[in-house]
Symmetry: C2
Subunit: 302 residues, 2 copies
């Protein structure tokens, strides 16, 4: 038996629509209701038959739910929670998929003082956005981190964990502040750096954008993928997980300065040592199934 | 008719072995001779039947060639050229595949004062190394930049261009110093940043390497691919293209500092504007066939 029978997904972007599709594929008896603040997104969701029902208000969407998953940008979580507060059935569990857990937990608790809240973060995604970009297998083999506050009903945690396992994810539990530091280095800083270098490249005077595009296979194109991610989502992440991001950024800048100095002074051994050390991490990622084992991410080479 | 009948490839790593395979696949009448400074690599090349002949010395490998392509790390180009100087037939064309063109051109000219030299750089690769990692289609749809010095025989340039077109590449011609600045931003700086962030992540105390690996699908794993590239090759690139790399790095650092400030002061509009602007470059790259149009680089999602 699935752990929930009526799931509401609020926010029908990449993650929300992938959850809806995952439920359809893996828990066909579960009734899925969707809602999105954008009327256009609701229309698209109906046109592609994403959910059993797409409601026209947040309140109506949760009225019969036993699980509500908030899939909106982290800066909009508090407002989304406030919108459902009056209609949330007693006993329903509220979860979310936000990339920052401390601030979101506080916002959800303030808006929903009585609800059972089990915050979650599935570490998965693509660079695409919107209800048509989701797919049922997005969470397969990926980790979903639960960050329940102390004192959360263990049965509620188990049900949310069971839900994510059925979507194909593996489960880890973590304190919210530790989550925010781990994700600052494994997700937030990489995005920040990718956005920066793509900006730097597009601002050069003597190298044209056309040249940047043509010769991007030298490495640059890898960065453009995550720099094409949703701007609202990522603005909110950086503003919300500010302290941890700034700390990781400081460490990165120090390391970059050290490398800059090694290049300026011709210290080839320092470069070689670092470049040798970094190969091990890639091997670990591939061995643990967190990336494609094929060269070049499995890109098509015809 | 292929533009050459006897091609020698010196350095049988990813690029050299891909050229050998490409010749076999696309120019079957051309005789390919290979040489590598490593006896182990020569043995492997023989075992996998990479070339028609694998010679046991650089000199012997070029004795009957009409094209010699040097595929060694840029720091080893001068020595490799010096090794063949005494055996190079009159009229043979020498080319290379180095990622830095100014310094390599100087080194080749010094070692081979009489030869016809047409430097080239195919902007293609994967994170893998060695003779078994190459494949015939590596250059399909990628750009190969020729940087012949002024006064180079146009017929020689045409023959080298024809050779690369037959391997599937598109041809561009560029001044060596401009090449080095373009590649500093589209290839060298991305690698430097990727190596740095992977180093930063592996040095953290409170976030374990195991956590970095597990949650790498949040974005970090993208950087680990190019940070798994050949350490010798990349050490040489940074030491050789030092000035251009340091300049691009300076620009990147300034832009990163501006973003850091925007995060610290909560300037969401600045972040949003940059994150919106960077999407256009990704679109250009995909539209021009320089990356996979499928989400997530076409990674397998089962």
């Amino acid at each position: 038996m699935p752990p929930f029978s009526r799931v509401t997904v609020i926010g029908l972007g990449l993650i929300g629509s992938s959850i809806a599709r995952g439920i359809r594929a893996r828990m066909p008896d579960v009734c899925v209701t969707g809602y999105d603040a954008s009327a256009e997104v609701r229309d698209t969701a109906r046109a592609i038959d994403l959910c059993d029902t797409v409601a026209d208000s947040a309140g109506a969407s949760v009225a019969e739910a036993d699980l509500v998953v908030l899939c909106v940008p982290v800066g909009a979580m508090g407002a989304a929670a406030a919108e459902i507060a009056g209609d949330l059935p007693a006993g329903a569990i509220v979860s979310d998929v936000g990339s920052c857990k401390q601030a979101v937990a506080t916002a959800l608790r303030e808006a929903l003082s009585e609800a059972v809240i089990v915050p979650a973060h599935p570490v998965a995604g693509t660079e695409q956005s919107g209800p048509e970009s989701g797919f049922a297998s997005l969470f397969h083999g990926r980790w979903c981190i639960l960050t329940p506050p102390e004192g959360t009903d263990p049965a509620a945690i188990d049900r949310v964990a069971d839900f994510w396992r059925r979507l194909g994810a593996e489960i880890e539990q973590m304190a919210p502040d530790h989550h925010d530091r781990v994700l600052a280095i494994t997700s937030h800083l990489p995005h920040l750096i990718a956005y920066t270098i793509v900006g730097t490249a597009s601002d050069l005077e003597e190298v044209t954008q056309s040249e940047v595009v043509k010769y991007s296979a030298g490495g640059f194109r890898d960065f453009t993928r995550i720099a094409a991610s949703d701007p609202t989502m990522w603005r909110d992440v950086f503003l919300t997980n500010r302290e941890a991001v700034l700390e990781m950024l400081q460490r990165f800048s120090e390391d970059l300065t050290a490398l800059q100095r090694a290049i300026r002074w011709g210290k080839g051994d320092e470069l070689f040592d670092l470049f040798t050390r970094t190969r091990a991490i890639r091997r670990g990622i591939v061995e643990q199934g967190q990336d494609d084992a094929k060269p070049d991410f499995g890109r098509t080479h015809e």
